[in-house]
Amino acid sequence: MMSHDLQWYYPEKISEALKLIKKEGIILHAGGTRILKTEARNLKGLVDISHLRLNHIRKEGKNIIIGAGCTLSDVINYCKKTNSFAGLCMALAEAASTPLRNRITVGGSLKDFPVWSSLYSPLIALNAKLELAGIKEIYSVEDYVKKNIIKTKHIIKQIIIKDDTDVICIVRRFNIVRFEYPIFNLAIVFKVKNKIIMDSRIVITGVKGRFHRFKLSEKALNGNALTEEVIAKSNEYFTPKFHTDYKYSPEYREHVAKVYFNDIVNELKEVMK
């Protein structure tokens, strides 16, 4: 049950919003879905971001800029319309349901690393950057979590993703029932030239420490053709460590993740044929 004294704010400037969220018990409101599920009880105020003009998606030079106020549906529609970021599009299309995706925002899916978010693994794999209000520097999504910027009081303004047509992003989400939160999300980005993997980034979320990148696995792939030997070597270094959970043992999850890893690499092989 929400407090009846809840105060709503509708700032038109990001600086005003930033000032407000520095006060105790006041948080940002974008789509509102997470607030209703998790934080409803102790809230004093909500700062609605709908007047901050953060719901843009546009191409700027070689980058795609996605405003934090865009809904998952906005991003999916853009990816479909422009035939870009197929992996990101797939990851978001598998998250929640159509009416929820019309409400869940990109910023809300990044703030505090919610367990249901399917956005982190593809964004880290795509080496996406975040522009924040309240912090001058532009951080990669990877550093945003690693350096604990995520814990500071700030507003995510926009995501910047390099629109590289040579890049293939493949994502797998593991859950048993469609509506379940993902147990893990595995995203692999490959840069391929003449059937050789020039670069790769392998990222999984839902593991200990929020996410993990497998640099040795990436190293085993980079500079090589996708032979059975290379795949096996890369898979050997792919050893995600999961928490103990009442549902599935860490060993089982690791096993499924390894199966998905092979599945993704085989999908890439098909694409490369």
Partner: protein
């Protein structure tokens, strides 16, 4: 507190608490065509259109949409003037207990407005946020296909 909302193209002053969801606000003010199912955003019984986009009204704070156009089922068709989608649901026998029907009709309406000739796959995707526990989905998908055909034939 009181707040003016635009519901079914009419400006209406509603009574609400600042922390109320859109679902609570609508139902407390007489819009009982918006059904309360799971209150978790999973069943889709409470769907309304927000600027033509279907959303779970149980997952939306009412005060966050005070400037937006809200459409409930009665904004699409009434018992005396049913919309073609509503007629199709009845004709296809897609409304056994009827509890999920308002949400199903809203989701179908949003789909057909955007995509007048959807494939079965596209219908399934558009209804992925709507649960039905008695009719089953075969007749519901048939109803949407029927409505799409009806609407297309009228537009020719």
């Amino acid at each position: 507190m009181r707040q003016v909302f635009n519901i079914n193209s009419v400006e209406k002053e509603l009574l609400l608490n600042p922390g109320d969801t859109l679902l609570q606000t609508l139902r407390d003010n007489g819009y009982t065509e918006v059904k309360c199912g799971c209150s978790e955003g999973e069943c889709g019984a409470c769907l309304v259109l927000l600027e033509d986009m279907p959303v779970n009204s149980c997952q939306v704070f009412a005060l966050s949409v005070k400037d937006k156009k809200i459409t409930t089922l009665k904004g699409i068709g009434t018992i005396y003037h049913p919309h073609k989608i509503q007629k199709a649901f009845v004709e296809a026998g897609a409304d056994q207990c009827g509890f999920c029907t308002p949400g199903m009709v809203i989701a179908s309406y949003a789909l057909l407005k955007k995509n007048p000739k959807p494939t079965k796959q596209e219908i399934n995707e558009a209804l992925d946020g709507n649960l039905c526990r008695c009719t089953g989905y075969v007749k519901i998908v048939e109803a949407v296909e029927k409505a799409a055909t009806e609407i297309a034939s009228k537009n020719v």
